[in-house]
C-alpha cells in the first residue's frame, strides 16, 4: 500500500495505470492546443497539414499571426501592466495585513481577520458585480454633487486593478503570515532593546526574514491577476486584458492564432515552473 509494504503485482500495475491515465488527462488539453498552433491549416482541427509558424509571424489578411495582431499585442501589454500593478499593491497591503494580524492586538481583530479571509470563499463573479455596483453608485453620486466624471468609477483599467487587488491581497496575506508564524520574535525584541523603533525593527529585521515569502506571494498575485476572468469581465472598460480578449475570440471568431497565444502562455509557465523546480532542488540538497 505504501512504500514500505509489499503489494500484489496486479494492485501495483492497476494503480500505475490509473496514475498514468490521470496525468494523460491533465496534459491532454495543453498538448492539443500547443500542437495545433503549428498546424498549417485555417481551422483549429486535425488533420495535420504540415508544420508552419504562420500563426505566430504571418501578416497576411488571410492569416494574421500573433505578433502581427496589434489588438492581441495590446491586450498582452494591458494584462502584463495590470498584473504588475495588482501584484505590487497586493504585496504591500497583504504583507501589512499579515503583520497586523500576527503581531498586533486590537479591538474587533477577529471580525477584521474574517473579512480579510472572505475573498477566499466569495465567488469572483460576486466580487465583480459588487465592485461594479458600488463604484457606479459612487461615480453617479460624485457626478451629481460635484459635476465631475471620474473614470475610475466606471468600468476601466483602474477598476479592473482594484477588483483584482481586492482578492490578491488575501492570498499574499496568507502566504506571508505562514512564514511569519515561523519567525523568532526574540530577533525583533533584540532590535527594540537596542533602541530601534518598532518600524525600524519591522523594516530591518522582520521584512528581510519574510523576503522569500513576499517574493513568492508577489508571483502568485501576478499569476492570479494575469489569468483572472470572473471578476475582470464585469469591470473591464475599453482596453481588454488578454483573457477577456481571448474569451471574446473563442466565442465569436476562433482562428489558430488562439492556439499560438495559448501555446506561448503554456511555454512561459512551463519554463518558469521548471526553473523554479531546479532552484528549489538546489536549495534542499
Amino acid at each position: 500500500m505504501i512504500r514500505s509494504l509489499p503489494n500484489t503485482a496486479a494492485y501495483t500495475l492497476g494503480y500505475r495505470i490509473y496514475v498514468a491515465l490521470f496525468f494523460l488527462f491533465l496534459v491532454m488539453p495543453l498538448i492539443a492546443i500547443s500542437v495545433l498552433a503549428f498546424n498549417d491549416s485555417n481551422y483549429i482541427a486535425l488533420p495535420w497539414n504540415g508544420f508552419t509558424l504562420d500563426w505566430f509571424f504571418s501578416a497576411t489578411d488571410e492569416r494574421e499571426g500573433l505578433f502581427a495582431d496589434s489588438n492581441l499585442m495590446e491586450s498582452i501589454v494591458t494584462s502584463l501592466t495590470t498584473a504588475l500593478i495588482v501584484a505590487t499593491m497586493s504585496m504591500v497591503i497583504g504583507t501589512i495585513a499579515a503583520l497586523l494580524f500576527e503581531e498586533e492586538q486590537f479591538k474587533f481583530k477577529g471580525l477584521l481577520y474574517f473579512l480579510a479571509l472572505t475573498p477566499l470563499v466569495i465567488p469572483g463573479v460576486i466580487l465583480g458585480i459588487s465592485i461594479l455596483l458600488s463604484s457606479t453608485y459612487a461615480g453617479n453620486l460624485i457626478e451629481k454633487n460635484f459635476g465631475i466624471d471620474i473614470e475610475l468609477f466606471r468600468p476601466s483599467y483602474w477598476l479592473v486593478i482594484f477588483g483584482q487587488f481586492s482578492f490578491g491581497a488575501t492570498y499574499v496575506m496568507l502566504l506571508v503570515a505562514a512564514r511569519l508564524k515561523k519567525f523568532d520574535r526574540s530577533l525583533e525584541e533584540a532590535a527594540l532593546s537596542l533602541k530601534a523603533t518598532r518600524i525600524q525593527a519591522i523594516w530591518y529585521v522582520t521584512i528581510p526574514f519574510l523576503r522569500p515569502a513576499i517574493i513568492g506571494a508577489f508571483i502568485v498575485a501576478f499569476l492570479l491577476s494575469f489569468s483572472n476572468i470572473n471578476t475582470t469581465i464585469f469591470l473591464v472598460g475599453s482596453d481588454p486584458t488578454l483573457p477577456i480578449d481571448l474569451y471574446s475570440r473563442i466565442r465569436f471568431s476562433s482562428t489558430p492564432v488562439l492556439n499560438a497565444i495559448s501555446f506561448l502562455i503554456v511555454l512561459v509557465i512551463t519554463l518558469f515552473a521548471v526553473v523554479n523546480f531546479f532552484i528549489k532542488r538546489k536549495d534542499t540538497t
Partner: protein, 291 residues
Amino acid sequence: MQQSIKPKKPFNVTLYLLIIPVLLWLVLLIVLPHLDLLISSFQIENDNGDKVFSLDNYIAFFKEEIYWLTFVKTAAYAIGVTALAFIVTFPIAFYLTKVISKKNAAFFILLLLIPLWVGELVTVYGWMVLLGDHGIINHFLMAIGLIDEPINMLYTDFSMILGLLYMSMLFMVVPVMSTLESLDDSLIEAASDLGASKWTIFRTIIIPYSMPGIVSGAIIVFMLVIGDYLAPNILGGKSSLWFTEQIYNKFLTTFNWNEGAAFGFLLLMLSSGIIWLVLKLSGQKLDRVGS
C-alpha cells in the same frame, strides 16, 4: 505577548500605520460593495427613474422557473463535481505522498502545477479543441476505426462537467497532499502488521487523518465550481445553463442590474451557507482553508 515585554504605550503608532491601509482595503473593496449588492437587490427603478424599495427582484427569481431551476441545478452539480474531484484526485494525492519517493514525486507535482498556473481560459479552450465534433478525440477515434460518426461531446453536460472538474480538481490535490505528508507511515504499517485489509486501513486511518485537507479542498473546489463562468459558458450547451450565466446576462446583456444584484446575493448566500455548514459539521476554521 508583546505587552508583557515592552511597556504599554498610550498611542501605538505602528498599529495605526498597519491598520489604516488594511481598513481601507476591507471597507472600500469588500464591505461597501457587498452592502451595495444587498441594497441594490431590494431596489427597482420606478417610472420616474428613481430607485425605490421593492421585493420584485426576488419575486422574479421564484416566479420564473428557469431561474430557480438553474439555481438548484448549479448547486446540485457543484456538489457533484466536488465529490467527483475528491474521488478522482485522492488516489493521486496518496500516490505522490506515500507510494513513490519524494524525488520522483517532485516531477509529478510540477506537472500538476502547470495547468493550475496556465489559467482556466487556456485549459477550457484546450478541451473545446479536444472534444468538438471535428475535434482531436473524434478525429482520433475515427482514424483508428472505432467509430464512423463523430460522437457529440462538446456543448453537453458531459463536456461542462469535464471542464469544471479539470479546472477545480487540482485545488483538492494540494491540501490533501499536505495533510497526507504529515501522516506517519508507521501507523499504516502497524495496522497492516495486525492484519488489517487495505480497505480497512483506508477507511479507519487514512480518510479520518486527511479529513482537514479534504474539507479545505472541498470548500475551495465547491466555491470555484459554483462561481465558475467559463466552463459552463464555453463547454456547456444551451441546456446546461449555469447560474453565473444568468447573473452575467442580467448585468451585461439586459442591463437589469437590480435583478442581477438579487441573483448575485442569492448565489453568495448559497455558497456561504454551504461552506458554513461544512465548516460547522467538520469543526474546522475558515483560515485553515487558505493554508
